[in-house]
Symmetry: C2
C-alpha cells in the first residue's frame, strides 16, 4: 500500500469526494460519454470534472482541457481515453495530485508485448506520484452509498451491503443486469481488470474497514500474491465474511482460464486448502455465490446452528430438511413446551415437529401464530419459511408478516422460499424490500443459510489461529544451508539419501540410521557401522517404487549377505529400469515396524508450502487418504490435518490396538512446516513411510526424499 493512501486511509479509494472523468465525450454511444453520464445520473454529491480538450462543456458540466487545469483537489480520475494517451493523462493526474486512477481504457497487458510495456510504464508513473491504479482494462468502480457509478455499466444497481470484487468485467455487466430481478443489492462493485496495481487483497483490506459492507464477494480467475492473500484473508475473515468463487478449478477450466487472462489458475487442492484454512467461504457456483451474499448482506449470523423450518406444504418441507441433512445443519429440537403450544393453535392435521407443516389451507394468521410461539425461545434463531401458492394462501400477508417479524426480532435470521412466480411476484417484492431474502427453491434457501452458520465457525476458527501463533523448534540452519549449497554446486535437483537424513535430523526429526554406499565394500562398511540386521535400498532419484524393481533387500545379517544383496539390487534395477541414474544403495538399520503414515510437502507456486499427511504403506495409492494444509502450520492445524484422515483412526488405536504417538506426528508436521518456510529453495519433501510407535515412543522416518 503506498504511503499517501495509507495516510489518507481507504477513503479516496472507496469514497472519493471528487471525480475527474478524463475522456468525457459529448457523443452518445462512446464509453467516455456513458461513464460521465453514469457519474452524473448516479447522484454523486461530490465535485465532477469532465476532462476533454475538444469540449467546453459536457452534459451541462464545465469541461477542462487537462487534469492539471482543474485547479482543485481530485481524489479519483476515471480514464477512458485511448490507450496511447493514458500515460500522458496519468502524468497529468500525478502532477495534479490525483490519488486514485480508474483506468477503464483497454490496450494493455491483455493485448501483448507492446501493451504490457505500456502497463508497466503506467505503474511507474503511478508509483512516482504515489497514486493507486484500478485496472487498466476494467469496467470501473461503483459505490451505491455515495451514488457513484464510475463505470460504463448500463444500470446503477440497488443500494445494499454486498461488496463485489470481480476479475471479470463481463460477469459484472451480467450481474448488474440481473440484479433488479433477483433483488441483489450492492454497496461497492469493483472491476479489477488487469490488476496492474490494486488487486483483491487491497480491496479486502479496504472493505474490511468499510461500515457499509457486510459481506465481501470475490470472483477470481487467479491470485497473483497467494501468500499475502491467505494472510489477509485470515485477518479480514474475523471481521466480516468473505465469499469467493474461484473459476478455472478443473483441468478444463484451468486451460480456459489461462488462455483467457494469462492467470495462473493454480491447483485445485491448493485453492481448496487456502480458502478453507484461511477463512474464505467458497461458493460452488454463481447461484451459490449470490444466494449466500444476499443472505449475509441482510441477515444476522445465527448463533445456535440449528434450523427451524415452517411450511404450508409437506413436500417442500422435506426438501428443506434434506438440504439441511446434506449440508450438516441440525434441525432444531422444539421441545415439549413449544410443541404443546403449537398443538393448541394449529389444526390436528398439521405437523408440529420440525419441519412445522401448517398444511395447505394455512392463511397468514397460522404463520403468525406459529412464528410467535417459535420466537419465544432465544435459541431458535434461524428460520426457513416456505410458502406455496395454494387455494387459501395469503402470500402478501405472509410476506408482510415476515418483514414485521424481522423488525421485531432483529437477532433472528429469516430466509424465505416463496415458491412460485406469477401469483407470488408481489409477495416476493414485499419480502425483498423488507430485507428478507427469498429463494426460488427451499434447497437454495437452506444452502444460503448454511453459509451464515458456517461463517460463525469460520470466525471462531480464524480467531483461534490468530491467537495461536506458530510453534518454533531448534533447527541447525548452517548445516542445512551447507547441504543445500553442496547440492547446488553439484547441480543436483535432488538430495542424496544421507543428505536427506541429515537435514531431517537437523530439524529434530528422528530418522533410521542411513548411509549411502557406492560399492559393495562401502555397503558392508556401512552395515558394520550401523549394526546388523540392515536394509539395502537402491539410491536413485528416478525410482519411486523401489521394491517393484527388486531394489530393496531386508533383514541382512552378515557382510556376505550385504555384498550379495548389493549386486542383486544393481542387477535387478539395471534390468527393470535400465535408464535410471543409480547412485549406489542406501544402507539403513531395520526399524521396528510402526504404523505407517506419510508426510509430505509440495511448494505450490501460488500459496507456498502445501503440507500433506496421510495413511502410508503399500496401499497408500489404493486408499488415497490424505489431508492438506498450507504452511506455516499452527499446532491445532497440524492436529486437525491428522484428525481428518482415516489414518487417525489407525493411530488412535483401531480395534483394540494401543494408541500411537500422535503427538510425535504433530511435531513432525510442525517441523516440516518450519523447514519449508525457512528454506524456500526446497521444492518437495516426501517422507514415506514414517513409522509411528506407541504413545510416548515417538516416530521414525524410514524413507524420505527431498527435491529443491
Amino acid at each position: 500500500m503506498s504511503k499517501s493512501l495509507k495516510e489518507g486511509g481507504f477513503e479516496p479509494l472507496l469514497n472519493p469526494r471528487s471525480i475527474a472523468v478524463v475522456g468525457a465525450s459529448r457523443r452518445e454511444g462512446k464509453v467516455g460519454h456513458a461513464v460521465l453520464k453514469n457519474v452524473v445520473e448516479g447522484g454523486f454529491k461530490g465535485a465532477i470534472y469532465p476532462v476533454n480538450p475538444q469540449a467546453d462543456s459536457v452534459l451541462g458540466l464545465k469541461c477542462y482541457p487537462r487534469v492539471t487545469d482543474i485547479g482543485k483537489p481530485v481524489d479519483m480520475a476515471v480514464i477512458v481515453v485511448p490507450a496511447e494517451r493514458v500515460l500522458e493523462v496519468a502524468e497529468d493526474c500525478g502532477s495534479a495530485g490525483v490519488k486514485v486512477l480508474v483506468v477503464i481504457s483497454a490496450g494493455f497487458k491483455e493485448t501483448g508485448v507492446e501493451g504490457a510495456r505500456r502497463e508497466s510504464e503506467l505503474i511507474s508513473i503511478a508509483k512516482k506520484y504515489r497514486m493507486r491504479v484500478l485496472g487498466p482494462n476494467c469496467l470501473g468502480y461503483i459505490n451505491t452509498s455515495i451514488g457513484l457509478n464510475a463505470s460504463f455499466a448500463h444500470l446503477m444497481p440497488l443500494k445494499g451491503h454486498i461488496s463485489l470484487v470481480s476479475q471479470s468485467g463481463a460477469l459484472l455487466t451480467a450481474l448488474i443486469d440481473r440484479a433488479p430481478i433477483d433483488g441483489l443489492a450492492f454497496s461497492k462493485i469493483i472491476s479489477l481488470g488487469n490488476k496492474a496495481d490494486l488487486d483483491e487483497i487491497d480491496y479486502m483490506r479496504a472493505l474490511a474497514e468499510d461500515p457499509e459492507t457486510k459481506v465481501i464477494v470475490l470472483y477470481l480467475e487467479g491470485i497473483n500474491k497467494g501468500e499475502e492473500f491467505i494472510r489477509v484473508s485470515r485477518e479480514v475473515s474475523v471481521k466480516k465474511p468473505i465469499v469467493a468463487l474461484k473459476s478455472g478449478v478443473t483441468e478444463a477450466g484451468a486451460r480456459a482460464a489461462s488462455s483467457h487472462t494469462g492467470s495462473m489458475a493454480g491447483s485445485e487442492v491448493a485453492y481448496n486448502t487456502a480458502f478453507r484454512q484461511f477463512g474464505v467461504i467458497r461458493a460452488e457456483s454463481l447461484d451459490d455465490l449470490f444466494d449466500s451474499a444476499t443472505c449475509f448482506a441482510t441477515q444476522p449470523i445465527p448463533k445456535h446452528r440449528s434450523v427451524v423450518i415452517v411450511t404450508n406444504a409437506g413436500g417442500p418441507g422435506i426438501l428443506a430438511a434434506d438440504a439441511c441433512g446434506r449440508l450438516g445443519l441440525r434441525l432444531a429440537e422444539l421441545g415439549a413446551e413449544i410443541t404443546r403450544r403449537l398443538r393448541e393453535v394449529l389444526p390436528p392435521a398439521a405437523s408440529i415437529h420440525n419441519p412445522i407443516d401448517l398444511i395447505g389451507d394455512a392463511k397468514a394468521d397460522r404463520y403468525e401464530a406459529a412464528l410467535k410461539i417459535l420466537s419465544s425461545r432465544e435459541d431458535l434463531d434461524a428460520f426457513v419459511v416456505i410458502l406455496t401458492p395454494q387455494a387459501m394462501t395469503e402470500a402478501e400477508e405472509v410476506a408482510k408478516l415476515l418483514v414485521d417479524f424481522k423488525s421485531k426480532n432483529p437477532s433472528k435470521t429469516v430466509v424465505a422460499s416463496f415458491m412460485g412466480g406469477v401469483r407470488l411476484a408481489k409477495a416476493i417484492s414485499i419480502l425483498r424490500e423488507g430485507g428478507v431474502p427469498n429463494y426460488e427453491t427451499p434447497e437454495r434457501a437452506v444452502k444460503a443459510l448454511s453459509s451464515l452458520i458456517r461463517y460463525e465457525e469460520v470466525k471462531e476458527e480464524q480467531l483461534k489461529r490468530l491467537r495461536e501463533g506458530y510453534p518454533r523448534y531448534p533447527i541447525d540452519r548452517d548445516l542445512i544451508r551447507e547441504i543445500l549449497d553442496r547440492a547446488k554446486r553439484d547441480e543436483r535437483k535432488f538430495l542424496m539419501p544421507d543428505e536427506v537424513c541429515e537435514i531431517l535430523r537437523a530439524c529434530g526429526i528422528r530418522t533410521a540410521p542411513t548411509i549411502l554406499a557406492r560399492s559393495d565394500e562401502e555397503a558392508v562398511e556401512a552395515a558394520e557401522a550401523i549394526g546388523y540386521p540392515v536394509v539395502l535400498k537402491v539410491a536413485s532419484p528416478h525410482i519411486t517404487h523401489k521394491s517393484d524393481v527388486g531394489g530393496v533387500k531386508i533383514g541382512l545379517l552378515t557382510p556376505a549377505e550385504v555384498k550379495l544383496a548389493y549386486h542383486e539390487i544393481m542387477a535387478s534395477v539395471a534390468r527393470f529400469m535400465p535408464g535410471a541414474a543409480v547412485y549406489g544403495v542406501v544402507v539403513s538399520s531395520m526399524a521396528p515396524q510402526g504404523k505407517e503414515v506419510i508426510v509430505g510437502m509440495h511448494r505450490d507456486p501460488q500459496f507456498g508450502p502445501l503440507i500433506m499427511f496421510g495413511l502410508g504403506g503399500v496401499y497408500v495409492e489404493l486408499v488415497r487418504d490424505v489431508s492438506f494444509r498450507l504452511a506455516p502450520l499452527t499446532r491445532s492445524e497440524a492436529v486437525e490435518m491428522i484428525m481428518e484422515t482415516k489414518a487417525y483412526r489407525l493411530l488412535k488405536g483401531f480395534r483394540g490396538e494401543p494408541p500411537s504417538d500422535i503427538e510425535a506426528v504433530v511435531e513432525t508436521l510442525l517441523k516440516i512446516s518450519m523447514l519449508s518456510m525457512e528454506f524456500r529453495e526446497i521444492q518437495e519433501i516426501d517422507i514415506n513411510p514414517l513409522f509411528v510407535y506407541e504413545k510416548f515412543k515417538g516416530c521414525l522416518v524410514v524413507d524420505a526424499k527431498i527435491w529443491w
Copy 2:
C-alpha cells in the same frame, strides 16, 4: 393394471374423450367451481358433464343430478364432493361405465383410521367396476395436448413435452405458478395424492407410450412397490428419459417425510442404487430437476459426448468449462481445420480454442460466423452458447440466430446462458419460444446438458441389461429349504456356522471345511475330521469382531492345542462379552491366505436384495470401499460392481502382484444374487472375508453369517 384399461390402452387415463365433474359448483371460490371452470376454459374439446343435484346448469353447461343420469359414455370422472359422499359417487360412476376416477376430495388415509377405511372401500368399488383411481387427496390431472385442466390449479401451464408425476400437490401449484416465468412447458401433469390405486409405475408405463411426452419427470417422497418400480424403470428408460427427485433422502428429510405422508422413505443407498442401476436419472435439487427436464423436452440427445462452448466473455466461459470438468464432460477438440477457419473470421484477441471467446465487442455476426464454422463438423453436436450484455452486444439478434441455427440443425443440441435480466428479457423469450432453453448461469446450462449426455449412456446400458438376462446356477433348493425350516422350528433368527456353510455350498460357493463344536471333545473330533492345522472361532450371533474378544485361535496343530484353544476362547469371551449367547466354536481348516474381499446382501424393505461387494480384511471399516447393486444381477452388473471399488485394483494385481481370480468373485456375487431372489426369508448375508486366489484358482468363503 385392470383388464378394461388394458383393453382400451392408456387412452382414458391420458386422453379421455369425455369428462364428468362431480361436485361442480356454481359458487366461485369453491373447489368444485374452480375445477369445472378450469376444464371449460382449458379448451377441452371433448364432452363435459357437470354433476350436481342442486343445479340445472353451471357455467352455461347442462348439469346432471347424478353420473348415472348422463346417459352417454364418460371416460373420466373428476370427483370434488365431500369425502363422505365419494363412495356413493364412485358406485354411480361404476354403474355408468366410467373408466377413470380422479378423486380430488381429501379426507382419506391422510386423516387417520376412518379415512383409511373409506379409502379401501373406494378401491373395492373401483375394482368391482374395473375403474382406475387417481388420488384421492390430489390436485387433479392436466393434459395440455388436449387442453384439459382437470385440476384446481389456478393456471393452465404452457404446452410442451415434459410430463410430470408428483407426489406433492403443493409443489405442483408452486411449479405451475413459476412455469411461465421459467419457460417450463408441460404435456401432462399428474398429482398422485394418496396413491390408493394409480401410482408412478402406472404413469411411467402410460407415458412411455405417449408421443407427446419426451421426458418423464418424477417427484417422489416414497415408493411403495420398489421391485416393480425398478423393473418398469428399466423398460421405460430405454424408450425415454426418466428424471426423478426423491425427497426424504437424508435422515432429517426421512423423518420429515414419514411424518408428512407416512411414506416409507427408505435408505439412501438403496434409492441411489435403484435409480442408477435401473436407468432413472436422479436430480439433485428442484432446480436441477426442471433444468434437465426442459433440456430433454426441447433438445435432441447428443451422440458425441463432447461439448463446444461459445461465449462473448472469458469469465463465464471458464465457469462453463469448470462445470464440464466437474461433471466429467469432455470439451470437444476443434482440430486444425476448424481453428484455422475461426482464426480467419474472428479478431486476433478472440480465443479460437474451446471455449471459443468471441470477446466483449462481438455482435451477432460474430456468433453467426463461429456457429456456421462449428456446425460444419457432424461430431460437434452439443453447444453451450453464453452471452453477457456488454456495450456492443446484440442480444435479440443472437437469440434469433440461435433459434434459426436450431431449425437448420435439428440434430444439434443447443443450450444457452444469456446472463442477465432487464436488458436480456426480450432475447430470453425469443430463445424460449424458439425452443432453445436458457439458463441463468453457465453452470446450470452445462448441468442440464450433462443429463442429456448421461442419458445416452443410460439407454445403452439398460438395453444391454435387458438383452443380457440373469445367469442361473445349479442350486440344491431342497437342502436350503430344510436348513431354513429347521432354524424356523428352533425359532432362531440366525443360522449356525455349519448351516451357513451348507447353504453356501448348496449354491456352489466354496467354503473352508467347517464344523460346529459344542465341547472341547467335539472340537478335537472336528479337527481330526478336517485335518490339521485348524482354526477355532467362537460361534455367537452377537460377536462381530471375534478376534477383538479373544474369540479366534489359528494354526492349531494337535488335539491338545485344540482343547486348550477351546477353553481359552470360552474364558476370554465370557470375560469380554459376558452377555453374548455362545453356541460353541467353529472349527475350520487353515485356508491359504488370499486377497480379502467381502460380499454381502441386505434385503431392502422397498427394493429387495441389495448386494454388496468391497475390500475386506481388518481395515475394511477404515476404508469403506464398497459398491452396491440390487438383485437380480446380470453378469455385467456383477463385473461392474467389482470394478467400481478400490478392491478391483488389488484383484487386478497391484504393484506387480499376479492377478486374482476375479471371475470366481463374479460367480459368487451372481450365486448370492440368485439365492437372495429365491429364498425371500433370508434377510442378510455377510461373507467376510472371502479369500480370492490367483487367476483360475477360485475363491473361498472363510467366514460368513446368515440371518433370516
